[in-house]
């Protein structure tokens, strides 16, 4: 089985996002960037499928700036066999990303696509579902357990009410949640080896797709800050304040 994994380069989740001076987006100048955490789970799951003998080949795909090569090299160091970068310096919407993925999927013919359930920058939570729609494949979102059984997969999904289980036909798009697995770190020898693994760069314009954005960001602002709170000395004081000052109990 051939597995395609999507990876996105994002601001490190430990870094606090700050709005830029002209209020058009987040200031990413010299910011620490990393692989989107949910994508790490997707890569890890693909590697485990390969280690279990289920997957023969893992292809990591990213649509983004030239620097996304670092993110793809990281995926290669973790265990992907080869990588594809569809290069654009523009920020594309999930619908456009899904169209790019579809074009690559048609060329590569994977049996399973693993992507993170959302990226922690735009928090859209759309690309996997959209890709699945464009391919006319089944989807399984927010997966915390994946079990492949020949031409179907049993997927446990984290939903608001608990854990839902569905069966999907393969090929399918699975969007993964954080509890699917615990991603590994790349070892130094594997980081070195990853430099020699194949990484195919394509230019977005050469794919001939309509990837125009449908939305315009008019302004980006900081949310209103919460007023500073107070420290209380005791549980009794806390209860008194909640009763008489905040009046919430």
């Amino acid at each position: 089985m051939k597995v395609l994994v999507g990876v996105k380069r994002v601001l490190d989740p430990q870094v606090k996002a700050r709005v830029n001076a002209d209020r058009t987006g987040i200031d990413l100048t010299n910011a620490k960037m990393t692989m989107n955490p949910f994508c790490e789970n997707a890569v890890e799951e693909a590697i485990r499928l390969k280690e279990a003998g289920t997957a023969e080949e893992i292809i990591a795909l990213s649509v983004g700036p030239a620097k996304a090569e670092e993110t793809l090299r990281n995926a290669l160091a973790l265990g992907a066999d080869r990588a594809i970068l569809v290069h654009t310096e523009e920020t594309l919407e999930p619908l456009a990303i899904a169209k790019v993925f579809k074009a690559i999927v048609e060329a590569e013919q994977p049996d399973l696509i693993l992507v993170g359930k959302q990226a922690i920058d735009d928090d859209c939570n759309q690309t996997g579902q959209m890709l699945s729609a464009l391919l006319d494949w089944p989807q399984a979102t927010f997966a915390s357990k994946l079990e492949l059984n020949g031409d179907t997969a049993k997927v446990t999904r984290e939903v608001d009410g608990g854990l839902e289980t569905i069966d999907v036909n393969l090929p399918a798009v699975v969007t993964v949640d954080l509890r699917l697995n615990e991603p590994r770190y790349a070892s130094l020898p594997n980081v070195m080896k990853a430099k020699r693994k194949p990484l195919d760069k394509k230019d977005l314009a050469d794919l001939g797709l309509d990837t125009a954005n449908r939305m315009t960001t008019l302004e980006v602002t900081e949310p209103p800050a919460r007023a500073a709170g107070v420290l209380v000395e005791s549980v009794a004081e806390l209860v008194s304040k909640l009763k008489h000052e905040a009046k919430v109990i």
Partner: protein
């Protein structure tokens, strides 16, 4: 301009998220239709018909919609979309599952998790775990939108008398099959709609210590939540998780116990009206958003709190 709201319902009753989504639809303006899709959902349709300000209830009652699988839900939405300027659903795991799929089939973008309606084509939405708010304008002919329910009040469930009509479900794609749901058993109020929430974090040390929080919750009529660290450590099930990737809630009172306050946790609770933090580490970031902070060992403070209430 007509808005279609896709109702979230279970066991014949509307889920609260539906009423919040209706309010967002009212702010867009125009007539509001509500779609009830599922199997044996007549009772939910009747409940929806009494929501104030709704014109028409469209009911797709079919075995193929029993598990509300994304493929069949999206095809149904696509079959109805031509009648509407906007299609809106709650940004819960229900809406997030099929809405982007429907959007792609319609070749439109989805506007995820809006927190405010600025105009019929312009919306505010949180990005970067709520650390920034983006004002976005959509050029798509049909706007597919998911709604952050905590940012809109609930519409009144009574006073309306909408007409109810049946619509035909799309053909079953049979791409996927619903197997089942394992839900956490609890008599307590639901986390998403509770006005008071008591949450535990890694500081709770084990799942066996959560009954301590539950006793406090019971005295307050509160729901119990947890940080991702507590869920990852296996203290409590996933549906307890509050945060960027779990539930986003905004109760009147949120009590964070043994929770450090990681960015992704704050994203799920910082719109609460009053936040209390109890943590023995005075440097914990949770204190920066707390209205009332108590630096104390939770194993002393929580039993004391239970007695004081």
């Amino acid at each position: 301009m007509t808005v279609l709201v896709i109702a979230e319902h279970e066991n014949g009753a509307l889920v609260g998220s539906t009423l919040h989504t209706i309010t967002a639809a009212q702010q867009v303006g125009g007539d509001i239709d509500v779609l009830i899709a599922g199997q044996d959902c007549a009772a939910a349709a009747q409940a929806a018909a009494s929501i104030a300000g709704v014109s028409r209830i469209r009911v797709a009652d079919d075995a193929s919609l029993a598990g509300q699988l994304a493929e069949n839900m999206a095809d149904l939405v696509v079959s109805l979309a031509a009648d509407y300027s906007h299609v809106m659903a709650p940004a819960t795991t229900f809406g997030k599952n099929f809405m982007p799929r429907a959007a792609a089939l319609l070749d439109v973008s989805q506007i995820s998790e809006i927190s405010a309606v600025i105009a019929a084509d312009t919306f505010e939405r949180p990005i970067y775990a709520g650390n920034a708010l983006a004002k976005v304008q959509s050029a798509d002919s049909i706007k597919l939108i998911t709604v952050r329910t905590t940012k809109f009040d609930a519409a009144s469930a009574n006073g309306g008398s909408a007409a109810v009509e049946a619509v035909t479900a799309a053909a079953d794609t049979d791409k996927s099959r619903y197997v089942g749901l394992s839900a956490s058993e609890s008599d307590r109020v639901e986390l998403a709609s509770a006005s008071v929430v008591v949450s535990g974090g890694r500081g709770m040390q084990s799942g066996e210590n959560f009954p301590m929080l539950e006793r406090v919750a019971d005295k307050l009529g509160a729901a119990v939540g947890a940080s991702r660290a507590a869920v990852d450590a296996g203290f409590v099930p996933n549906d307890y998780q509050v945060g960027q990737t779990g539930k986003v809630i905004a109760p009147d009172l949120y009590i964070a116990v043994g929770i450090s306050g990681a960015i992704q946790h704050l994203a799920g609770m910082k719109d609460s009206k009053v936040i209390v933090a109890i943590n023995k580490d005075s440097e914990a970031p949770i204190f920066q958003v707390a209205d009332y902070g108590l630096v104390a060992d939770l194993f002393d403070a929580i039993p004391e709190l239970e007695n004081e209430l």
